[in-house]
Structure formats: C-alpha cells, structure tokens
Subunit: 430 residues, 2 copies
C-alpha cells in the first residue's frame, strides 16, 4: 500500500479553483490511474472566506502561502499565484530546496528563473513541472519532451495567447477596430484592465522562451525574443490580407537558423488554409516541426479553469506515478549554450501598407527604393479611389533579409508623398 | 555511469529502417535527452543482404527474430514485423515473459492481444509500449495516458487511416471515382495491392479499439467496433456534401453513451470548417474531448518511416529513462468491464441519397416513410434534370435513432420508384 500524495495549493483563482475541482471530484479516477491517492493537505489564497464552487471548509488553511513550502504534511506544492518575483518565486524556491516537488502554471517565473529552479530541483531530487505554463490544456511541454523526443526540432510556431487571438478573430468577424474589440474583451473578462501583458506580446514571449528551451535544449532566454504586439494591426490590413489569401495572427516562432536560434513574437500573415490560419477565438495552437516526424499540430483551449487545471493535475499525476524527467529535457549542466540570432538576419517575405498621396511618380519613388535594396516584389495592390486623395498601397515581397527591408521602409517613410508611418507585417510560411 | 540500453530490432521495413536511422544518426542527442546510451545489439529481418540507407554490417544478425527475445545482450525488443499472430506475437510474448520491454507499432497485435500482453508485462516488470501503433508520429497514446490524464473523456474522434484519407481527398480534388483513385494510390505505393485492410476500415478499427481502451480504461474490444469502409462513397456524395457544407471522412469514433461505450468506424459527413473537415491527404488527426480540457486536436503524419519511427524511438527513450506506466492506463486487474453499445442505439443525423424515377407521388412516398418512423427532415436536395429520367434526391435528417433510420431506408429501398440501393452516410457534429 503506497501512502497518499499530499498536495498543497497556493492560489485559488481561476486555475486554482479548477484544480481544486478536479482533485475533489475525480479522486477515485486519479487514484486508479496513478495507483496512489492524491489528497489536498494545504490551501492558501488571498481571501479565505469567499463563495467557491468546491467546499474547502475541512482543509488546512495557510494565510502565508510560503509556509506551505515548509509544511511537513505537503509533498507537492502547486503554485498558482503568478508573477516572476515575490511570493510565487519565494514559495517555489523554498519548496524545491526542501525537496518538495513543484507544479506551476507560472510562465513568467519559468521563463525568467526556470533554469535556477531546475538546478534546485536537481539538487534536492524534487520535480519541477510546468505543463500548464504554456498553452493551457494542450500537453505541448510533454509532447516536446516525451512524445516527440526523438526529433531534432527545426521550428516551433504557436498561437500562444488566447486574448490576442480572440481580439484578432473578433476584429475580422465583426469588422471592428482593435480599440473597440479590446474594450469589449475587457468587459467580457477576456482581457485584463491593463492589457499590455497580452496585447504587447509579452505573455507570448514568456511561453515562446519556454518552448525554445524544450525544443532546443537551451536555457530560456526571454531577453533574446523579439517582441511586437498587435496594437497596430488594423481592419484594413486584415482586408488586404484576406485579398491575398492570408489571415493575421500573433505568432510566437522559434527556429534553428544559420545565425542561431531565432525567437520572435509579432503579428504574422499566414495562409488562411494553413493549419494556424483558422484557429478561432480564444484557442491556442502549436505547430512543431521535427526532422523525423515532420509537422505535428496541437490545438485546444489555452486558458480557463478547466483546460489549465487539466494540465496542472496531469503534472501532479506524473509526480504521483513517480515519473522522473529533466524539466528542460537535459540536465542543467548540459544545456546547450546556443547562440541566438537577431532580427536583422531574419529572412522572410513581407507585407507593407503605405498611405500615399496620389501624385504622378509616387509609385516610381517607392519601387525605386525597393530596387535599390534589391528587394523583389511579389504582389502589388491598390484599389480605385478618388483622384488626389490619400490611398492605401500594399506591396508584398519575396524572401528578403529584414535589414534590407527595414532600410527600405525607413526610406519610404521619409517620402513626402507618404502620409502615415508605413505598417509592415511579416509573412510566415507554414 | 549507467549501462547502455541494448535494443534488438525485428523487422527492417519502412518503420524498421526509419528506427535504425534515428538510432544511428541521433546517438548523442538521444543519450543527452535520456541520460543513457541507446545501442542496437540485435537485428532481424526477412532479407539480410539488401541495400539499406543505414549500414548494418557491424550489427549482430538473427535469422530467427524470436531468438532476439531470449538474447542476453538485448534489453528492449522492438517488434516491427506486424500481424496479430505468428512470429510477431511469439516474439513479443517471449520477450515480455523474459522480462524484456517491448516497443511495437503493431496495432493488430495490441488490439487483439494487448491485455494479455500487458498482463505478462506486469508479471515480469517489463514495459509494453505502442505509441507508434496509432496515428504514426502523433503522440496520442501518451497524450491520453499522461498529458490529458486528469480528464474523464467523453469522446475521441479520429482520422486514423492515411490511405483512406488520401483516397477521399484525391477523389474530391481531382473529381474522380473511388476505383480510379484507389488504382492510382496502389501505383504510388500509398495503398496495398490488397487494400481491404485499409479501405474497409479494419485498420481504423484496430486503432480505435486501442484509443477506446486508453480513453475509458477498458480492454480493447475490436469485436465491439461497428466497421464500414469507404468503397461505397461516390464523387456525387461528395458534391452533395459540399453543397451542404460538409466533407466526407472515414472516422473512428469512440464515446460514452447512456447505453455503453459506442465504437464505430464509417464514412462521416463533417462540417468543412470543423477541425477534421480539411485534414488533407495522408494526414491523421484526432480530437479528444475531456470534461476539463474541452476539445484538443492533434494532427500529423499517420504513417511513413520518419513519423512512425519518431514514435518508436520516443518509446525506447521512455524505457531508457526508466519511465513506468500501465500500458492501458490501469493495472490489468482494474480495467473497467464497460458495456459496449450497439448501433441501433446510435443517435445521429443522417444523409441519405436515393436514385428515384421521377414520377408524380415519389417524394410523397418517401416523405411518408420518414413520417411513419417519426424522422424529422432537415434538408432536401434535388437538382433539375430531364423529366422522366432517374434523379438523385438527397435528404438529411435531424437527430434520429439509427434503428428508425434503418427501417426507413429499408422501406424506401423497396419502393418501385427507387432505382438503386439508397446510400446512407452519418453526419457527425464536431
């Protein structure tokens, strides 16, 4: 007879509540599947007395979450507080130092301090598990680490932030502006009052840094992620994109290139009929490209109580079963010190929207600049308009080096006939 | 210093060759990821002297594959021979009895004898691993067993046979008949000379029985799978489907219903814009629906050297890492003796194509039969045609019990004005 696995949960927000629910309602199922009873022996959250869907009255309560990390009746600490620093970090560090395994959904913590934490876990023989930190219910961490472990990965591409995907999908479907849809998303609770973390791409970058680490066996390096959010995407760009057969998605992309590992988060045009082109609303999706497996797509809910708790509890079950693995696939001492590439080395094709005053010679000036940078154009769109009024002109390029493209955009922006800052969106082939 | 994991491979066809390639070319990567060297210490195949992409001259050769199972220099037996009986079964049974772990891509063996084999593995402390048996490179076995383990599954739906999906996709894209496309697929090597195993749905049924077992914790029961292949699907049906917003796919579906676990393999109409509606060519895709996670989609290559070997080697890596799990999620003695439902209990909506001789009163006869069975019609299609000539009439129904539908189809088939056996396709909502 094995002893029960004793779990302490810190943080009872959306994900904490979902975790509590699964552990309470599926006790017998989890025991059958792991061979071990999983019991909650400690809880902590900001507010104790609050109506919750699961009754917690019989459970041990801690006003100080960090105390759970030293509690003798806890084997596994589930950290669902959030934030790269402060209480969450202190809790996780204390737990690992005390030899208690940690399950967390905290992408910021793992992206910033994951390697230091993994080293502590190695030291004390504890497990550090963070399936829920990336893409909610999609088991992408386990897939990269276990299911696809025989592959040398070439590229991993993901729609990793449900808020951004919801905003972009809604803009297109309801033909509204970014500001309009963001406001609605905030009212519906899909976006935070301070939306910067999501819409400026930071959340996606955290998740991407973690995926990079798993795919390429290096330390997560959030500082080496190029980050550009979705605030500048307009409905007009979406209409042009559709005309060209594309949709616009915020992607996180990590790939092996001749100049190093390239990590980037930015709006992308992807073919509408490609696997990521039609991922709807709050869904997340990830394409992993391996040398043996080819391309594998994973799609599902990237947030919410049920999906994220599904991943949290799967990690707890791993611990109950006694599964051992390296959190970042390799022992910390053996992680690859891979060089990271920078954006000027990127080779991509581009979409560029200009607003020009329609005078003779304008297009000749623009195309002259492209010629000077040896950028070859793939398509050119301009719709009929009233003579003399500003008009949107769209060009797309063949594969070009980003540094050349940026010089061209810079020169074009300075033309007297160009009336707004041009907007450039990279086109990603999937 | 850990000792190397010694692998014996039986069967060097497509998948065996792919496995050999990964193990030979990624030796250092696999060692870094598992912490243990993986070495090939035994090989067996039908022909020894044959040009192969990997040099096998230095490796120990066995004319009798079963001898590998008793070889003192082998820790893991990789069975890539195929077939539910004969040498493959003998090899796997001997290996497990000898305490050697087994990795196999053999769906027929696992669907028919998986539980007996799992019991042997439990007895001897060996591992039985079969990620490659379902959906090639997609790590769906691990996802159901580990990544989504916190879920009570409601339904798992898959496109599990690349040959069928290739044939159906090609029929539609090139507007050709089943026979034409099958012939081409055979010439290209996508379909076997004896295609029955694929096109009659048997291969899909094997894979579905395995997925059922993992999702619901019961023994695989191939005898309880309703099986109907794709031979009767016509281009005409695809055209009507498209008109209604559907594509036609061969699906394997397993779900919990009030009358038991329902397992069925048959052509389905699925909405074109649903996740399985546009899965192209030889790809496989699986939708898993869990109570917490909601719906998760997995898509990738379901066959071929690289993808299938990716899964074979991932299983070998699990063994190298010392991962322990129950092959069917639960210990054999604790598997659920779930009742299986039968097709007459199915509730579905239906597509029915009739060829009728256009005489006054025909449609009234047909609709009268539906009324008698209390089947409510959702749509009705009939295209203009020359008067007096036979015409295709298509009806779709609202949700109906299969037994009623079959009685109606039977009665309709007997009408003097119906000139061909009506063709019924179930419509699946995803």
């Amino acid at each position: 007879m094995t002893t029960p696995l004793r779990v302490g949960i810190a943080g009872l927000g959306t994900v904490g509540g979902g975790t509590l629910k699964i552990l309470s309602e599926h006790t017998a199922m989890l025991k059958a599947r792991t061979g071990r009873e999983i019991v909650i022996t400690a809880l902590s959250a900001r507010t104790k007395n609050k109506t919750r869907s699961t009754d917690i009255s019989g459970l041990r309560w801690f006003d100080n979450p960090v105390a759970i990390a030293s509690d003798a009746q806890v084997d596994v600490v589930v950290e669902l507080i959030g934030g790269a620093e402060g209480v969450a970090r202190e809790l996780v560090e204390t737990a690992l130092k005390n030899g208690k395994s940690v399950v967390t959904a905290n992408k910021a913590l793992i992206a910033h301090h994951g390697i230091a934490l993994a080293a502590m876990a190695e030291q004390s023989g504890a497990l550090l598990a963070f399936e829920a930190a990336v893409a909610g219910g999609i088991p992408i961490i386990k897939a990269l680490r276990d299911g696809l472990a025989a592959n040398n990965f070439k590229r991993v591409v993901g729609i990793l932030n449900g808020t951004c995907n919801y905003i972009l999908t809604s803009m297109w479907e309801s033909k509204r502006s970014f500001d309009d849809v963001l406001k609605e998303a905030q009212e519906k609770g899909y976006a935070e009052a301070e939306p910067s973390f999501d819409v400026d791409g930071i959340d996606t970058a955290h998740k991407l840094a973690i995926l990079t680490s798993l795919a390429f066996g290096c330390a997560p390096s959030i500082g080496d992620v190029y980050i550009e959010g979705i605030r500048r995407v307009t409905l007009r760009d979406m209409e042009f994109a559709a005309e060209l057969g594309y949709s616009i998605k915020l992607l996180g992309i990590t790939s092996q290139t001749p100049t190093g590992v390239e990590q980037r988060v930015h709006p992308c045009m992807v073919r509408m009929d490609s696997p990521l082109g039609t991922v709807p609303g709050v869904f997340n999706a990830i394409l992993a490209e391996g040398d043996s497996v080819g391309t594998v797509l994973f799609e599902g809910r990237g947030a919410g109580a049920g999906p994220t708790a599904s991943s949290v509890v799967a990690d707890i079950m791993d611990i109950a079963r006694g599964v051992a693995y390296k959190p970042f696939t390799l022992p910390v001492s053996q992680l690859n010190p891979l060089p990271f590439s920078t954006m000027e080395h990127l080779k991509s094709s581009y979409y560029l929207r200009l607003r020009v005053i329609d005078k003779p010679g304008v297009l000749s000036e623009v195309t002259g600049i492209f010629k000077q940078e040896q950028i070859s154009l793939r398509s050119f769109l301009q719709h009929s308009h009233k003579p003399g009024e500003p008009v949107n002109v769209v060009v797309t390029t063949h594969d070009t080096q980003e540094s050349s493209m940026l010089r061209a955009v810079d020169a074009i922006a300075k033309l007297a006939t160009v009336s707004e800052t041009p907007y450039m969106i990279r086109i990603e082939t999937l």
